[in-house]
């Protein structure tokens, strides 16, 4: 029980620290690596909650797929050593105000509400159960969203190939680059 709490505090601290670093880091590649740490700690939380399948999906798809994609596009579009200029204090202050106000409101609401934990025995979620209910057409089946998501993935794949394909009109020079 105590080790459980220690692990939770560790993961929670990692998630909070690295997500703040992700949105404030001034080097873009570092921000991507901090995002990777956040996603890996989240998968640790899923392991703690006993969702092994989803933790694996999180590791392979998020930490393995999306972060690599983001790092690739960072390398394609920016210089590694490039640093962002600091943002204006007005924008930072108002964004921080909005975020902190929203967070405080939500946390007060969460602490106010009385969640009642159930005493129902937990259902065992092995791969067989997950696969059967993903393809079942019964009341608790998920075959329709499964089909919809497969079509969405196919459409996204074709769309990203078409959009990123080479060719088309020439590049437009920005007014700023014309002046130089």
């Amino acid at each position: 029980m105590v080790s459980n709490q220690i692990m939770f505090i560790l993961f929670a601290a990692m998630i909070i620290v690295f997500s703040v670093l992700t949105v404030t880091s001034r080097k873009i590649l570092r921000a991507a690596v901090y995002l990777l740490f956040v996603l890996v700690s989240t998968s640790g939380l899923y392991f703690m909650l006993n969702y092994q399948f989803l933790a694996g999906v999180q590791l392979t798809l998020y930490a393995g797929g999306i972060v690599v994609l983001i790092i690739f596009s960072v390398l394609l579009t920016s210089h590694i050593s490039q640093k962002f200029e600091p943002y204006g204090w007005k924008k930072t202050a108002f964004s921080a105000l909005a975020a902190i106000a929203g967070a405080i409101l939500s946390i007060i609401t969460i602490l106010d509400y009385n969640f009642e934990a159930t005493t129902v025995a937990a259902k065992e979620m092995n791969m067989r159960e997950i696969g059967l209910s993903l393809l079942s057409v019964d009341y608790n089946g998920y075959v329709l969203p499964f089909e919809v998501i497969s079509i969405l993935l196919l459409a996204a794949m074709i769309a990203s190939i078409v959009v990123a394909k080479k060719g088309g009109p020439k590049r437009i020079d920005l007014p700023t680059s014309n002046k130089e």
Binding site: M1, V2, N4, F8, A12, I16, S19, V23, I28, A32, L35, L39, T42, L45, M48, N50, Y51, L54, Q58, L61, Y62, I66, I70, F72, S73, L76, T77, S78, Y87, K91, S95, A96, A98, A99, G102, A103, S106, I110, F115, A117, T118, V120, A122, M125, I130, S133, Y142, I149, L152, A156, M157, A159, S160, I161, G168, P169, R171, I172, L174, T176
Partner: protein, 105 residues
């Protein structure tokens, strides 16, 4: 299993992560960092779904499948967004949202 950790801790953690993503979304000007903030937001919502499913409805699987579909949508969204970002970079030589404001081509 996870005795000793109230449900509220998970929810507060997800809230902090969500609003960190909102802060990044509002302040960042680079398209890829905006995309990273969106990933943070989606991920925090997933934590909420999983915690609710485990604590309040452990005999059902709705939260798990919803998170699974959110992950799939996030993956396709990232793929399309990065294709668009690369296209914008090819046309304008920048991915700063304040410089690339023309849709004309």
């Amino acid at each position: 299993m996870n005795t000793g950790i109230p449900l509220q801790y998970f929810l507060i953690l997800a809230t902090v992560m969500f609003f960190t993503g909102v802060y990044g979304f509002l302040t960042r000007r680079n398209l890829i960092t905006i995309l990273m903030s969106v990933e943070l937001i989606l991920n925090s919502v997933n934590i909420n779904f999983m915690a609710f499913n485990r604590y309040l409805f452990p005999h059902k699987m709705e939260g798990m499948f919803f998170s699974l579909f959110v992950i799939a949508v996030a993956a396709s969204e990232a793929a399309v967004a990065i294709a668009i970002i690369i296209n914008i970079y090819r046309r304008f030589s920048t991915i700063n949202v304040e410089d690339a404001h023309e849709m004309k081509y």
